[in-house]
Symmetry: C2
Subunit: 469 residues, 2 copies
């Protein structure tokens, strides 16, 4: 047996150092794109145990790949195939350490599943305003390591903005306790924000303090149709002025997005007829249902009067609201059923989104006539899932094989020209590592590499992720 | 002439490399606590010039102290007295580069004065929600380098949370352009948050993208009295539930704070009689004045019904609202008139504030009978300006001399026991450098030092600030 594995087994017991049997729930990502082979899957049960694991791995110069719920989309939590890296699962760190209602904070361990964390907040009559499609299995540690986004970023920010403190184990096995839960703290460099979004390449997040909010008492959902994407941007501006911080959701979907949902999920009733663009809006109100309704009506009336929207349907029950969200969330699945496609998770200044859509669309169409763009996403955050599907009649497998490179080039070039980002909320992981290398300035890459060398001098933390070796 | 100064003069002209005459507006901080002596005061006019200055200084191994409006409270922007450091003034970088209403962002240079930045936003019908006492002279670069707080943090966050992008010149004279203005960007380490709050010790901020908000259409201000500090915390909780994100200000003041204002500014009318605690609340509403009033009334009625407040006065005009804020902002000045005192800018989890006040108060009283605590601050952010004044009849100069050490020890020990911060919004600078050294864990100090070494290997950026040499 490998000396490191032997030492780890002595530390944690054989039941928490797995080397045999089916380890695919750890070694294979949930979309089955990356399959790693780990030296061992190691499952510590406390921060102290994580620290001890890291000390042993440092001693044995063994690389460590931290993993939470294994729901990532960029292969950030999967080991390579060498069989020499430790897969460090945080799933056993599940303690909710404190709910502090007066401070509006929740302190909990990295392995807590997001849905459980939401429940812990709800039990105290409060809201943890982080909500993702994978919330039933993703973990808080993973959410923070990848700075997760989701559907309420517009109002409450990304995982980053919800985090008031961290506990981190360094590659050397030291514990940094930064679990302050303070809203103001100007005592030196902000280590918290450095670890958030670093995808396990600088240290292991073991616990966090998250910001809570009062529970809204009313929620209003609507769909509205726009002729042009620029009108959807105008609607967003109007909504921000009329509804201000009540506005919690603003999603946009192009015709094809909803057409695919219609085709593959005909039982899902869509409240509005096809239109070039459909917007899903949501308000959350701490005051009263009647107040939420009044604000919503004012907004929609003004939008209609200004010619920004054509048609609108307001959900009159929670069931109808859920259906609207269900439609929005079925786009990805409908796309999969339509066939393999080239996915993008991009961000742009919101003001640049209409021109991006025009430019990228025209370039793609001239690159390959009939190419289909499924453009949808969190317009309120400037974040589009701009996915590209084969022309009708073209084999999707071959399309993906042959076109992924050129299509990425066209899309990312257009993003870059407008000052956008090639990864809005999914991170870099192994998927976009070389793309990052090509697109970031040498100055920025140098700064990142200096930080990596400073905090992980032996290069043991999640090697090959984010920064190319 | 020194070779570095000669080269700088060749670069920028003699009028922008000052070595003679009265340089006290640069060399002396505005409270006259620190007087440095600079090798030269250097005033570049563009990012490119800042980069060229940094390259020359790196070549000549000359240390650089960046300075904005010179309104800092911890001596962070003042050189040492050796006459060997360059004072790099950013005041000539005053361009507003872009107001993007659809993206709700403002891109501007580091030397813009905060009040001018607020005006640029207002001209576009938008709000830059950063507001400080020094806004007429502090600069955006300084605000970000020190992560300024102010009176609207509760709703909009610190300077850090308002910043969506930075342009930074490194100690080697490279320009990092991170002026993205994106709300979501998960492409590697968050350099932005590392520079924000680093007080010019890692690089020079030359420009920034700030987040704007819609202008509120109504503002309501009130004062209310509470018997206990715990009641003020309960009022805050209630306000957060009733008014939610309309709540933009929540300040607390103890009896002595307002008594000193009464004594030294008798012409300033205080709407409520003396009470153990007085709260200043503000709501900002995007909807309508009548809506703001209705929410405010609901809040105050509930607070009264629950016995949380004794008395309340609602401002019925802008003038009355201004007077209330004027009272709050006169506390510091009234304290100065009362005599020198020992100032603290601390943060605590909000839930711990009542117990902190009790513990620290009791310890100080037993340390020195008659000692007077002027406790006021941004309760909504957990941030207190907990200032300690000599007992009546004791000479303030001698008190400061003899008691600063022991009083700091008592106050900061109490802060530390409750997981608080010794600098909430003022930073570390030179004032709290050794205190930081003593109070941060060795793990955290090591992490910070690694980062400093990584980004400023020659130790030329603002040496002796934040981290002790």
């Amino acid at each position: 047996m490998n000396a490191c594995v032997q030492a780890l087994t002595q530390l944690l017991g054989a039941s928490n150092v797995l080397t045999e049997g089916d380890l695919s729930s750890y070694e294979l990502d949930w979309r089955k794109r990356w399959r790693g082979r780990a030296l061992a899957v190691v499952r510590p049960g406390s921060t102290e145990e994580v620290a001890a694991v890291m000390r042993l791995c440092a001693q044995h110069k063994t690389a460590v790949v931290p993993q939470g719920g294994n729901t990532g989309l960029v292969g950030g939590g999967i080991t390579d195939t060498s069989g020499s890296q430790i897969l460090l699962s945080l799933r056993r760190l599940t303690q909710v350490r404190q709910v502090d209602a007066a401070n509006l904070t929740l302190t909990l361990e990295a392995g807590c599943v997001l849905a459980q964390a939401q429940q812990a907040a709800a039990q105290a009559g409060l809201l943890l305003p982080l909500s993702l499609a994978s919330e039933g299995s993703c973990t808080i540690g993973g959410n923070l390591a990848s700075n997760a986004g989701g559907t309420q970023v517009l109002r409450y920010g990304n995982a980053r903005e919800l985090c008031l403190g961290l506990e981190v184990v360094t590659p050397a096995g030291d514990v940094w306790n930064g679990l302050s839960g303070l809203r103001k703290d100007n005592t030196g460099y902000d280590l918290r924000h450095l670890y958030i979004g670093s995808e396990g390449t600088l240290g292991v997040i073991t616990a966090a303090v998250l910001r809570l909010a009062p529970q809204p008492v009313a929620r209003m959902t609507a769909m509205a149709t726009c002729q042009r994407l620029a009108d959807a941007v105008r609607l967003l501006e109007l909504a921000q002025h009329v509804a201000s911080s009540l506005l919690t959701g603003f999603e946009v979907m192009n015709t094809l997005s909803l057409a695919l949902v219609r085709k593959h999920f005909p039982q899902l009733s869509q409240p509005l007829p096809p239109s070039p663009w459909t917007v899903l809006l949501e308000l959350s109100d701490g005051e009263s249902p009647s107040h939420a309704e009044a604000v919503f009506n004012t907004l929609l009336e003004r939008a209609q009067a200004q010619g920004v929207i054509q048609d609108a349907a307001v959900a009159s029950s929670m069931a109808q609201s859920n259906t609207m969200w269900h439609v929005r969330e079925s786009i990805s699945l409908a796309q999969s059923q339509e066939g393999l496609n080239i996915k993008h998770d991009i961000a742009l200044p919101i003001s640049c989104i209409p021109v991006f859509d025009e430019q990228a669309g025209a370039l793609l169409a001239s690159h390959m006539p009939g190419i289909r763009v499924v453009n949808f996403g969190h317009l309120g955050d400037g974040n589009l899932h701009y996915n590209v599907q084969a022309p009708l009649g073209v084999d999707p497998v071959r399309f993906l094989q042959e076109q992924e490179g050129p299509v990425n080039q066209i899309v990312y070039d257009a993003v870059q020209r407008l000052g956008g980002s090639i990864s809005a909320e999914h991170g870099i992981g192994q998927l976009k590592c070389s793309e990052l290398q090509q697109r970031k300035s040498p100055v920025e890459l140098d700064l990142m590499r200096s930080i990596k060398r400073a905090l992980d001098p032996a290069s043991l933390m999640n090697p090959g992720k984010v920064l190319a070796p």
